[in-house]
Symmetry: C2
Subunit: 351 residues, 2 copies
C-alpha cells in the first residue's frame, strides 16, 4: 500500500474560497488516491460545498475556526492576531506533524511570515525563498526567489541554488538540474557583488551542483537552464513582466484576428490551434508557488485560481512529499556544508 499523504488545506484562502478551494481538492483526490485532507475554515460555509462533493467529504476532516486572515493584513499583524486563523491552524498541523503539507490561496505575506515562524527554517538555510515552475522552449524550468527577499547576498543565492536544484529533481523530474544565475550579461565581470560572489562559489571545484554560469532575461523562457537563481526583487519583476507580456501578445493576437474578414475566417479554422496555444501557456498549470527552505512543505496557490489551478497547487505539494523534498534538502545542505568546509580549509599537507 502506498504511503498516505495528509494535506492541511486553508479552505478560506482565495478570491472564491471556499468553493474553488474545495472543488480543487476534489479534483486532486481523483488524481492522487493517496491524499487525505484536513480542511481548516468556517464549518457552516464548508458543509454545503462538501455535500456536493461526497468523495472529498469521505476523505476529509474539518477543523472549524471562524477566523480568516484578510487579503490586506500585514504579515506582522497576521502573526500577532491570526493565531486562530484557518491559515495559521493549517500551518500548525504541519508543524505538529499531523499533516505533511500545507496549501493556501490566501495572503502571501502572511502565509510566508506564519510558515517561517511555525515551521522554522531548515538548519543551514538562512532565508526562505518563493519558487515556481514556468513553461520554456525546452519544457519547464523553476525560478527563485520570486519575492520573499528584496535584498540577497551571495550566500543566500548559493542556498537558493541548492533549493532550486532539489525542487527541479523532486517536482520537475530532472536528474542533474542545470543551474543559472540571472545577470545582465554572461561575462564574469558583470553584475553586482552578490551575483559575482555566488558565481565564484558555485564554480568552486567539488561544488555539488551543476552550474551553467550567468544567464540573462532571454534565457528564462529559452529554457537554457533548469533553475534560474535570482534575488526576490528581480525574480518578482521578471515573473510579472513575463505574465504581462503573455497578456499583451494574447490581446494583440485577438486584435489581429478581428482585423479583416479573411482573418475572421482564419480564426474559425485556427480555433483548435489557438486553444492548444492557450493550454501550453495556461497559468493554472504553473499554479503553486512554493516556499522553500522551511522545515515543512508549504505551497501558495494564486488567490484567483479556479478548481484546476488549486488542484495543481495541491499536486506540487504531493510531488514534493512523495519525492522526498525535505530529505533531499537535508542531504543537499550536508553536501554543501562539507564542500564549503573543504573550500575554507586550505590544503596544508606540509604542516
Amino acid at each position: 500500500m502506498r504511503q498516505r499523504i495528509i494535506i492541511a488545506l486553508d479552505a478560506m484562502g482565495g478570491d472564491h474560497a471556499p468553493g474553488s478551494v474545495l472543488q480543487g481538492a476534489n479534483l486532486a483526490i481523483e488524481r492522487f488516491p493517496e491524499v487525505d485532507f484536513i480542511l481548516f475554515g468556517i464549518e457552516n460555509e464548508l458543509r454545503p460545498h462538501l455535500a456536493l462533493l461526497p468523495k472529498l467529504a469521505s476523505r476529509s476532516s474539518i477543523t472549524h475556526t471562524n477566523e480568516v486572515v484578510s487579503g490586506d493584513a500585514k504579515p506582522s499583524q497576521a502573526l500577532r492576531s491570526g493565531r486562530r486563523s484557518s491559515m495559521r491552524l493549517a500551518i500548525d498541523a504541519v508543524a505538529e506533524g499531523r499533516a505533511d503539507c500545507v496549501v493556501s490561496g490566501g495572503n502571501t505575506g502572511a502565509l510566508m511570515a506564519m510558515a517561517k515562524m511555525a515551521l522554522r527554517m531548515l538548519p543551514g538555510i538562512d532565508r526562505p525563498a518563493m519558487a515556481s515552475s514556468f513553461p520554456t522552449m525546452r519544457g519547464e524550468s523553476v525560478m527563485l526567489d520570486l519575492g520573499a527577499n528584496v535584498e540577497c547576498d551571495a550566500e543566500n543565492l548559493v542556498q537558493f541554488a541548492l533549493m532550486g536544484d532539489v525542487f527541479a529533481r523532486t517536482v520537475l523530474g530532472r536528474t542533474r538540474p542545470l543551474i543559472g544565475l540571472l545577470n545582465i550579461g554572461s561575462e564574469e565581470l558583470k553584475g553586482n557583488d552578490a551575483v559575482r560572489g555566488a558565481s565564484a562559489r558555485l564554480q568552486q571545484p567539488g561544488f555539488p551542483l551543476h552550474f551553467h554560469g550567468f544567464v540573462e532575461g532571454t534565457d528564462i523562457t529559452a529554457g537554457t537552464v533548469d533553475v534560474i537563481v535570482t534575488d526576490g526583487f528581480t525574480g518578482n519583476v521578471a515573473l510579472k513582466t513575463a505574465e504581462g507580456t503573455v497578456e499583451l501578445m494574447t490581446e494583440f493576437t485577438r486584435a489581429a484576428f478581428r482585423y479583416s474578414l479573411l482573418a475572421r475566417i482564419g480564426y474559425l479554422f485556427s480555433k483548435g490551434a489557438l486553444a492548444k496555444l492557450r493550454e501550453r501557456l495556461d497559468p493554472r498549470a504553473y499554479n503553486g508557488a512554493v516556499f522553500l527552505g522551511l522545515d515543512g512543505i508549504a505551497v501558495k496557490s494564486h488567490g484567483s485560481a479556479d478548481a484546476v489551478g488549486f488542484a495543481n497547487a495541491i499536486g506540487v505539494a504531493v510531488d514534493m512529499k512523495i519525492n522526498g523534498f525535505l530529505e533531499k534538502m537535508r542531504q543537499g545542505i550536508a553536501a554543501l556544508a562539507s564542500s564549503g568546509s573543504l573550500m575554507e580549509k586550505p590544503q596544508s599537507a606540509s604542516l
Copy 2:
C-alpha cells in the same frame, strides 16, 4: 527653411556594418529631409555602398579612419586605445559641435564609456541611463535604466524619472507623462531603500513630475504609465525577459498552427493577421536605446538591426534634436533643483 540636422554616424558599428548602417541612413534621409550625415569609417569599404546609394552620397561626407572598436572590447580598453576609432570620432564630432547627434550600432559598453567621457554629463545629473521605448496595451512607453547602472540610489532614480519624462515628451509626444517606479508591490512599505526613498521624493508637494506611484512587472506592458523607472539590473532583466517571452509565444503559436490540417488551413487565412501581429511587435520599430543624462544626443542601435532598424534608431536621434531634448533636460534639472532646494530649506518665516 527647416533647421538642418547633422548626424555623426559610426558606419562600422553593427553585425552587418557598413552595409546595413548605410542602407538605414539612406532610408532615414527619405523620411527626414532635414538630415545630413558625417560617416565615420573605412573609406574604401564605404565607397562601394555609397555608389549604390546616390541620395545618401549627396548628403554625406566621409571622415576616414581604419580603426574600429571590436564587439568584445572592454569599455576601459576602448577608452584607452580607441581614440581614433570610428565610434570615438563620431562622438567627438558631437562633443565639438560639428554634429547634433551620434548614432552607433557598435559595442554598447564602449559607446557608453566614450560618450560619457567625451560628451560629459549634463550639470545636475550624476549618471547616464539607457532608455528605450516599447509597445504596450495603450501605445508606447519608455523604460530606464536598461543596464548602464547595476546599482542605483534614490537620487539616481529621481534623476532617471526626470530623464524619462523629457524623453516621453520629446520622442513619444506625451504632454504630461505619467511616471511609475518599478517595484514588487504597490504598497508603500514594499521594496528596497532606493525605491522607497525615490517614491518619497517624487511624492513631495510641488515636485515637478506627474508621479503615479509604484508599478509592478505586469504594468510594463499594460501601459499603466508612460515612463517606467528602475535600476539598470532590474530594467535589463525585465526588458530581456519580455523579449524572451515574445519569442516563446511566437514559437508556441507557430507550433500550434503546425498541429493539425485544420490549423494549417487556418494559418493560410490568418497570414495577414499574423503579419499584422508581427508588425505591432516588430523589434525594429523599437530599435534605438538612448543614453540619457549626457550633454549630447547619443543613440545606440541593436548591432543586429537591418536597414529599417537603423533608420528607426536615427529617427529617435532626430526626434530628440527637433523637439529640443537637451534644452528641456536643462529646464527640467532647473525645476528639480528649485523644488529640491525648497524641500531642503524649511519654511522659517519667524527667523
